[in-house]
């Protein structure tokens, strides 16, 4: 970067919310053709800064420059018109509309008399989708797509305008490795066209793979910018959270107890077939596989959200039928669901009430809810999970993405379940808290809980599991102990290549 002018410069941006100073004077610039990472803990202010840039929030102080001009982003449309494309952390699609309509929302190609030109629309959309190499077409209804594919639709939107800067706010949180590769290709295309890219992610390996520089925020304060090539994970972590982390693989094993959960020949239509496994008290079993391998569906069956078409579920050796989540909860099963916004939280409700929702019937003081007990539970898990919020009264919708996820985790941990199922537990969670949550899950197992972890992140599965169940299109291909497992044989197992067949 010699004497090139930045495409974008943020100068001393300040933004406060009631009770929170989200940004306390942040400045940084993005060069053309640069991938600039923005890192920081959950609630550090990354999304807020980007929303200021995208015209969604007005800053309380500071200025935005594009090239040498000072600009004011009065609203999202204006930001888009100026060439700033924002791919949000939380999806913002119209589920009832088609993929094409979503991508061109507000700018649908027209024929005479204002009629929508469907042919052109479909053609243009399919061209973009082809570039993204996705398995759906322009006419698919967005509501039918998986979260990962919805994310791809968001990304496709970015490719429709003549962008000067593109902001990706945790785009890979729900993408598979294959989809990630496509995304990175898209980013490198944009880069070669001279577009400035801001990339927010908690995943270190991505940061070091694709970014040129890293800027770091901590509690709304700008900590500095470093060239990615001149730094390493440890240094970045140090700047983000002020300490370093132990990222080694799980070595300790607990004393295993009785089998808490056993599944025999369980099937659910075409979603998964003939699945058998067991989880003992004191054990963490990781479920690894591609999206669509049927792991979430198994979890949903165990939690009473789906009826199995065959097979048995045994809890503590007794065969059970689980008809509803209420049933599952009564039997001591907890599920941290995959989709925090849709399934995990009531966004308009405050933090405390969200956290105690499953046990609100049990926290009684006479005929009333025991609010004191609720606050105690909230305080305990806020401290344990390091949830950043001005207080329990804050609406969950106002928390940062990662802190929202922690509320969901706290909600289910506070139920003290016998069987804890977590589906993508650390999606969107920063490195520091992630290792805290991993530690917590191991501790819970040590206390005698049976823990099932579903994750699409290989390091996570390798890090916390005692055993790993590998799945491929609805079937278990292999079960590993933590001594047998290697990255290679795990990848083989989830790609449907049977062991021994390779030679």
């Amino acid at each position: 970067m010699t004497d090139a002018k930045p495409v974008l410069h943020l100068d001393d941006i300040v933004k406060t919310f009631p009770g929170v100073r989200a940004l306390a004077g942040v400045s940084f610039s993005v060069m053309p053709g640069e991938v600039h990472a923005l890192m920081g803990e959950n609630g550090a202010g990354k999304s807020t800064l980007m929303k200021v840039l995208g015209g969604i929030y007005q800053p309380d102080g500071g200025a935005i420059y594009m090239g040498t001009d000072k600009v004011v982003m009065a609203g999202p449309l204006e930001a888009k018109a100026k060439g700033i494309v924002f791919i949000h952390q939380e999806l913002s699609l119209a589920e009832e509309l088609s993929v094409a309509e979503n991508i061109y929302l507000g700018e649908l190609p027209r024929k005479r008399f204002g009629r929508v030109d469907w042919a052109t629309l479909t053609e243009r959309t399919d061209a973009i989708l082809k570039k993204l190499n996705v398995g759906f077409d322009a006419k698919t209804r967005v509501g039918e797509l998986s979260i990962a594919n919805q994310q791809m639709v968001e990304i496709a939107r970015a490719l429709t305008v003549d962008a000067k800067a593109v902001i990706f706010d945790e785009p890979t949180a729900s993408l598979t490795d294959a989809e990630k590769t496509v995304l990175f290709d898209v980013i490198s295309d944009l880069k070669s066209e001279g577009v400035g890219i801001i990339y927010i992610s908690h995943r270190m390996e991505e940061i070091f793979k694709i970014t040129d520089r890293v800027s770091i925020l901590r509690d709304g304060q700008y900590q500095g910018t470093v060239a990615t090539a001149d730094t390493d994970e440890e240094a970045v972590t140090q700047m983000m959270i002020g300490r370093t982390l132990d990222l080694s693989r799980n070595a300790s094993h607990h004393e295993l107890g009785d089998v808490a959960l056993e599944v025999r020949g369980l099937s659910c239509g075409k979603l998964y077939t003939d699945v058998s496994f067991e989880v003992r008290r004191g054990e963490v079993v990781g479920f690894y596989g591609l999206v669509g391998a049927g792991r979430t569906e198994i979890a949903e069956t165990l939690f009473g959200l789906r009826d199995p078409s065959g097979g048995q579920i045994l809890l503590d050796g007794q065969e059970v039928r689980i008809h509803s989540p209420a049933d599952a909860i009564a039997r001591g099963i907890s599920l941290v669901p995959e989709d925090r916004k849709g399934q995990g939280l009531v966004l308009g409700m405050n933090c405390r009430d969200n956290m105690t929702l499953p046990q609100v019937d049990d926290l009684k003081a006479g005929p009333f809810v025991a609010e004191g007990a609720e606050v105690a539970i909230f305080d305990q898990y806020r401290d344990r999970l390091d949830i950043r919020t001005p207080g329990w009264k804050q609406q969950v919708g106002n928390l940062s993405g990662g802190n929202q996820q922690k509320i969901v985790i706290g909600k289910w941990l506070s139920m003290h379940p016998n069987v804890l199922i977590v589906d993508e537990p650390t999606r969107g969670i920063d490195v520091g808290s992630k290792s805290e949550i991993h530690k917590l899950l191991r501790e819970l197992a040590a206390q005698g809980y049976a823990v099932m972890v579903i994750s699409s992140e290989m390091p996570e599965v390798l890090h916390i599991s005692d055993r790993i169940v590998a799945m491929y299109s609805g079937q278990i291909t292999r079960t590993f102990t933590s001594d047998e497992v290697t990255e290679d044989n795990l990848i083989q197992a989830i790609s449907g290549i049977k062991s021994g067949q390779a030679a």
Binding site: G75, L77, P325, P337, G342, G344, G348, D353, P358, V369
Partner: protein
């Protein structure tokens, strides 16, 4: 510093928008007619709002749970007619519980359709609006219903009586508001109502029985309607088949004026009471200003829309915004 204070004012406005609008209305009406703020007039406003208010309390539950109830007007006619008829047939002692049971069965039926069968509440309750009207007409044979011995019954106490100088309808409204306010704010059931209306899927994932919660809301709403019917019947001791006609919209307006969201998940009993009073004061104020009652219809709605707009504008921090 100046900007800070401006922002603080904005914050207060945002939180208390509807209360401020309320204060402004009272001020304007008082200036227009000083009688407006007299104790007598205040009492008369609250008394005439009591029937609407009692119904609005129940509808608040339904709206917070994310549904609508447009059947409350015709259901109230039903209750009134039934209790008047049974009064002469089996005596007031039995007539009242019998009427409550019948009305609550209607509520349970709606609750079953909306809660357990997951049918759209707008369609269901709109259908019930005419179905119950038909039921009432069938019951009464289209005749007005009157109590034979209007002088000799203690039944008039609910609509015409007073205790400690306070009219009974006001006492019923206040008591029920306090009771339901506590249920909604302080009990596990109340919490579930908010959760189901805020995000039904997440509520289900938290082990809350969504269908049962919605069902219960409709039964509560029907119980409130029965209470309103009782007050109405007791006040006039005779009634037409259409006495509750159109009340469903006024009730909904009061609930929304109070700030409950039609999308569900927000609102409180206290706010609904404020909404009811605003509506009552507006109508009374217009009456004192000597407006014809049909002009009142128009002005009432203009004022309602104005109030809601001010409320939203205060929340947004500006009067107009292209994106909500």
């Amino acid at each position: 510093m100046a900007t800070l204070t401006k922002k603080q004012i904005g914050g207060v406005l945002a939180r208390q928008g509807i209360l401020i609008a309320f204060a402004v209305f009272i001020l304007v009406f008082t200036i227009a007619n000083p009688k407006f703020l007299s104790v007598d007039n205040l009492f008369s406003v609250v008394r005439s709002s009591a029937i609407l208010g009692v119904m609005a309390l129940g509808v608040t539950f339904v709206v917070i749970s994310g549904n609508l109830d447009l059947s409350v007007g015709s259901m109230m006619s039903f209750s009134t007619i039934v209790v008047l008829d049974l009064h002469d047939q089996i005596g007031p002692f039995l007539a009242i519980p019998a009427m409550f049971a019948m009305t609550m069965c209607l509520g349970a039926f709606i609750g079953f359709l909306v809660g357990y069968l997951r049918l759209n509440s707008l369609i269901v309750t709109l259908g019930m609006l005419s179905a119950i009207h038909g039921l009432t007409l069938t019951y009464s044979g289209g005749q007005n219903m009157d109590i034979a011995d209007k002088e000799g019954t203690w039944f008039s106490v609910f609509g015409q009586g007073a205790a400690l100088g306070i009219p009974v309808p006001i006492l019923i409204f206040a008591g029920l508001a306090a009771l339901l306010g506590i249920v909604l704010a302080k009990t596990a059931f109340g919490r579930k109502v908010y959760a189901v209306g805020g995000n039904g899927t997440a509520a289900t994932f938290s082990g809350i029985k969504r269908a049962r919660t919605v069902f219960t809301c409709y039964v509560i709403s029907a119980a409130c309607v029965a209470t309103a019917g009782l007050i109405q019947a007791s006040r006039s001791l005779g009634s037409q088949n259409t006495v509750g006609q159109g009340l469903e919209l006024e009730v909904l307006a009061a609930v929304i004026l109070g700030g409950a969201s039609l999308l569900g998940g927000s609102g409180t009993i206290f706010k609904t009471v404020i909404g009811v009073l605003i509506l009552g004061f507006i109508q009374n104020g217009l009456l004192l200003m000597g407006l014809q009652f049909y002009v009142q219809f128009v002005v009432t709605w203009v004022i309602i829309i104005l109030a809601v707009w001010l409320d939203i504008a205060a929340k947004r921090g500006k009067l107009w915004s292209p994106i909500a």
